[in-house]
Symmetry: C2
């Protein structure tokens, strides 16, 4: 297995992403990385580590995709970028999957254009695995690939999400819900009600009805389907509220002392330690890596502001999906539905 | 001033709502309540309190609006309910405002039908004041009165939200933002981009551009405008994430001891106390009471699952809006724009 790494996509230096990617495969000598970016900095990062296996490759492509790049020129190949090189390496099958922390819109557009969709998929979506209070994960999609979606698309998203949850978490028949603003069947926008009808009538989907956004993290569903705009809002509002909770909590913990002897007697230090333990339970970095599902190959988008640990997690997400053949499973799943 | 109270609207017993409403006016002998519902239980609740001023009135209307009630029959008046009686008391001007913890959809429909819109308003919206990390509040609207909204409606919502923030929090020129999924001007759905253009060109609005949902609570805007579906999702996702944070935090605090001597030595008890302190900082109950803005009178919707303290807060919200003449201010503000 070979995973392409866009080392220039994130807010952090390439070294941080390269270290994260190498961490993810440190115990997996069977996995090679194709490190794409500025060769000197990649070799420098590789040289600094004891575990830099010689089977990793370095592909020079030192131009970082710029936010002002014309999408048309990027798609036509008139503007080179490390992201485009990474997508090409997956399209020509020299790599099995890729991870980039660059622009979501550009990554999706390049991937659709060069890699193509999985059979039976009309519109790929962005999906993310998130923690819930029940200890199980939930997959939320679409997170913004399609601002709007009709009933047929939402129905496809339900299949795509179920195939993803089934593949990477071995959930036999994932429980699928639609995001809505009420739990009664007659509530909500027409396209969501029509999609819910399609899902309810589909024997291949274990339908659990509507969920409202305050139940995203309660574990009542394994897959939650939304239009891209609403899914994006739900995810980001959750992240924002968690940050707000951390802010308030930091002040509170300064008034407390750990029951077991702490490594430090500095209250600020103790509060920070407690805080990091609390938020590790649902640290976005530990759940970094959104999947571009519905493409014919594995493409994973890391958060742009990721740190080393977060990027390692995004690379692990890509590895899992390659190992479980997620694109083929999704194609099979959609083909089965049409049959 | 007289405020109508629908005592049958919530999940809790009428006593809880009545006690909350009386708490809200305990120090305000100038405010009378019109308590609407089952007369015996209202008199029992009033009798149990030392502060039950004789100037409160009791209006018998013992039927609770049922979730299965036909909206058509409710609007025509063929189905009586305590909610309808409350709305009627505002429509006929015997009360200055009302608070109900019943169905949002029915409350909005009845209010539009009987009370009518403020001059210049095409579609009323639901707005809520929320805390931010900066210590300032933010008003979020629409929270679900209009699932979809065109540019002109969103532009009106911006004015309505600004008038609300200006009136009740004395903010001179509230900063208004549109909820979107990116911060660049060309991003997002067409109706939101068109609305942002209208707001940017409107000298009467202090426009601060787009905000993404993870910035709802950062204090970067005083008013955030959204379509009802997205606004509802943003609010509920935030509440859900806060609940998830509380769940994780409860476990953590059991490992800590308060620095100052606590009232109890029971770790569970201490954790509960710390938790309630933390979450009081942004307890939804302390921010209970969504405003139905754009009507010609004050109508406030309490959360259905509210407790006594939360309902008192919703009643205080209604009192503030009546004192500040919010409906007139919104009408003036929209009239000024058209002039």
């Amino acid at each position: 297995m070979r995973i392409a790494i866009d080392t220039l996509g994130g807010d952090a230096d390439a070294d941080v992403l390269i270290d994260g990617a190498l961490d993810a495969v440190a115990a997996r000598p069977d996995i090679a990385l194709n490190l794409i970016g500025e060769p000197e900095s990649i070799h420098r990062a590789l040289g600094g580590r004891a575990d830099s296996y010689s089977h990793h490759t370095v592909t020079p492509s030192p131009r970082r995709l710029d936010i002002t790049d014309s999408l048309r020129l990027t798609l036509r190949g008139a503007l080179a970028s490390s992201m485009r090189t990474a997508v090409e390496s997956v399209a020509d099958r020299s790599c099995d999957g890729l991870v980039s922390a660059g622009s979501t819109g550009a990554l999706m557009a390049l991937s659709r254009h060069l890699v193509g969709r999985a059979q039976g998929v009309d519109r790929p979506a962005i999906a993310k695995r998130l923690p819930t209070a029940s200890g199980r994960s939930v997959w939320l999609l679409d997170l913004g690939a399609n601002l709007k979606a009709g009933p047929a698309q939402l129905h496809q998203f339900a299949h795509m999400g179920a195939a993803l949850a089934e593949s990477v978490a071995n959930i036999a028949t994932p429980r699928v819900a639609m995001l809505n603003i009420g739990s009664e069947f007659h509530k909500g926008p027409a396209n969501i009600r029509a999609a819910a009808q399609l899902v309810a009538e589909d024997d291949a989907i274990r339908d659990v009805g509507y969920v409202e956004a305050h139940d995203l993290f309660k574990g009542a569903a394994d897959v939650i389907v939304a239009e891209g705009f609403a899914g994006n809002v739900a995810l980001k509002a959750s992240e924002g509220a968690a940050q707000m909770a951390a802010h308030v909590l930091r002040e509170e913990l300064r008034r407390w002392t750990p029951r077991e002897s702490a490594a430090t007697h500095d209250p600020d230090e103790q509060a920070r330690a407690g805080l990091s333990r609390v938020f590790n339970a649902y640290n976005p970095q530990l759940y970094n890596g959104a999947s571009l599902v519905g493409l014919s190959r594995v493409v994973v988008k890391s958060h742009g502001g990721t740190d080393r640990e977060g990027f390692a997690q995004a690379v692990r997400t890509a590895i899992e999906e390659v190992e479980m053949n997620v694109p083929e499973r999704i194609a099979r799943c959609l083909a089965g539905r049409l049959a």
